[in-house]
């Protein structure tokens, strides 16, 4: 598997809602930072929790890679768009069965054929807006 194949497979498996398949590409103690959720930790904790909530809350999840390149420090940089219709609560956001589309950027550092560091950025405000949240201090209240 060459360097570009690893991030391509990572997002293809995310698109297929294959959580274990995604995690199989990552070293066991890889550090994951999800800035908009203020979550940071090992992939088996933070990464698995994010992926499991994502596929549970959005059973029709689609993940599309819009741009992908690998920098000279072996970091794959990917712009992706995720879409889906909410069917369950997602990190405290109550399900109102709304459709969301969300642009994200991911940094996947690759070492010896595996991902050993992950960072992701997106606008949580846009996600709140799409899912019907009205206030940042009461994001579990929708009206």
């Amino acid at each position: 598997m060459n360097s570009l194949d690893i991030p391509r497979t990572f997002f293809a498996r995310m698109d297929a809602r294959d959580t274990n398949g995604v995690l199989a590409l990552v070293t066991p103690h890889a550090k994951v930072t999800l800035f908009p959720l203020n979550l940071q930790g090992d992939v088996e904790e933070v990464g698995r929790r994010y992926l499991e909530q994502l596929v549970s809350a959005f059973p029709d999840l689609s993940v599309r890679v819009r741009r992908l390149f690998i920098g000279n420090d072996d970091t794959a940089v990917a712009e992706v768009t995720i879409t889906g219709t909410q069917a369950a609560d997602f990190f405290g956001i109550i399900n109102q069965e709304k459709l969301m589309d969300l642009d994200q950027v991911w940094f996947l550092h690759i070492n010896d054929g595996a991902i050993d560091r992950i960072k992701a950025y997106w606008c949580q405000n846009r996600l709140y807006r799409r899912l019907g949240v009205k206030r940042l201090d009461h994001f579990t209240i929708t009206a």
């Binding site: 390149f69 950027v105 940094f107 606008c123």
Partner: protein
Amino acid sequence: MSGTSSAVAVDVVTAFFDGYRDQDVERMVELCTENADFHYIPFELWGRQRVIRGDGKVGTIGKVIWTTLIDSFPDITNKIMSITADDQGNVATEVMISGTQAKPFGMIGSLGLHYDLPHVFLFRVGKEGLIEEITAYWDTADWQRQLGWLEVD
């Protein structure tokens, strides 16, 4: 692909953030091609009839947004946290942008509060050593919380 070497691309992007730190919008624009594309992904202003997005050209909407940000946050500054590039002109930077609000910005009224907000800027740098495209990501919810504005829209 109209790319350039990673060293040249990193140099021009570093100069861009030096210009931003100096609040020199003209210098920022000069480092871009005349027709450079501009995408501030989280930027959405929802009106009754339409949504205004941060999509367009550096010379038009980019210049206006940067000028307005500097006016609203007169001590706005930045720190590059990481930078990576390939030899096709692609550059990705993690940047901390900070400032203290002095005037309203869009829907966000001024309470005089300070913010430190992680950003990602993606660039495409052409063979001439000028920026052809800028795309930025940040979390507006985090920004608004720090500025004391809790309405989602």
